[in-house]
Symmetry: C2
Subunit: 223 residues, 2 copies
């Protein structure tokens, strides 16, 4: 029975450091020092540095996608098979933001790591990352049901922008804080989520390709 104590310690330390400093700036020696294990332990338990990164990515990617889908299904179930567009986007960006922002910095590591992944393209990740497309397609399908009058292009752009705002908020919290001199409260995660969702929905609803844009946008913005 292998005691995966060392394994776990390595994974935790690696994720923490990668999230903080990025892949290229973290060496195996940094990781083993942080995890208080021997240098050779990484290669013994994971085979190589790349496989360690890949394992981290697969684990977190699956968890994030599962959480997103869980919330999407819940929203669709509640609406009898058709979820509101706002709820769909909330299911998409919520898990990412919740994991990255907020005062409690412990759980932030996982999602911050995923953001790193979306930035730096280390070889082992690029292969796995194509699966994300399929995952996102499920959200496009849900959006299609929510906004049947919209052309697909508009939905793609809407999803793209929603993710853009969420990820950039995580990535560049520092700049936003400096620019606003702390006025933009990133600790209130739910408020940030609503903000992202609101703008994304507005952009979708008011899309020039769909009819009745005026009333729809007005209805949303009046909430």
């Amino acid at each position: 029975m292998p005691s995966d104590q060392t394994r776990t310690a390595i994974l935790a330390a690696a994720e923490r450091l990668y999230a903080e400093r990025g892949f290229s700036d973290v060496t195996l020696r940094d990781i083993v020092s942080e995890a208080n294990v021997n240098l050779a332990a990484v290669n013994y338990h994971f085979g190589s540095k790349d496989e360690l990164i890949a394992e981290l990515f697969v684990t977190r990617s699956l968890a994030l996608n599962r959480e997103r889908l869980r919330r999407l299904r819940a929203a669709e179930e509640q609406g009898g098979g058709r979820a509101e567009i706002a709820d769909i986007l909330r299911a998409l960006v919520g898990p990412t933001l919740r994991g990255c922002l907020g005062p409690e910095n412990e759980r932030a590591t996982a999602a911050r790591f995923m953001i790193r992944v979306s930035i730096e393209s280390v070889p082992p990740i690029r292969r796995i990352r194509n699966r994300e497309i399929d995952h996102l397609r499920k959200f496009v399908a849900a959006m299609r049901r929510a906004l049947p009058a919209h052309r697909d292009v508009e939905l793609y752009w809407g999803l793209h922008f929603a993710l853009a705002m969420a990820q950039q908020t995580v990535r560049d919290t520092e700049r936003l804080a400096k620019l606003s001199e702390g006025q933009c409260d990133v600790d209130d995660v739910e408020a940030v989520i609503e903000r992202v969702v609101r703008v994304a929905v507005l952009g979708l609803i008011a899309s020039p390709a769909s009819g009745k844009t005026t009333e729809r946008a007005a209805a949303v913005s009046a909430r």
Copy 2:
């Protein structure tokens, strides 16, 4: 009189490679090979790898900021000192997108390099990057004049989201293309700019903090 032929070749090659593959994946040997110069030339002309990056960044950063400000001033002049919010955001995201997207890949290098800069935080850049805050503050000031009823926080978020959508579009063109199976046309740069500006403006106008959100959002989306 120093013939800066080598210098220029190094700068061009470095920018091209950094834009393509990021800083950490490009070695000096890659650069000098691409530029067809000797390995020692980099240290002779620039002192170190970091100083080469810094020089690239300073040059491009100044150029981008200058272009942005030029367009902002033009918009303000045309409006008699007060520019429309859409024109302000256009002046902000336009130069970035124009430099990065579009079919002609030659000029794309410069802006794509700047995007890399905004992603990877190599030490020499982090120092210089604080100046960007001051630059962005000028746009906040212009936005304040355009939307005097808005609280500053809303303006910060609006600017943040506009930049987010622009930068993510540049950064993740590939994912958007794959997801939409080529339906999202990123080659029509001006259309992309309008798309980003429109969504950002909608988010600002319909901001819950300002009065009369409904009519404003309706007016914009009806255009």
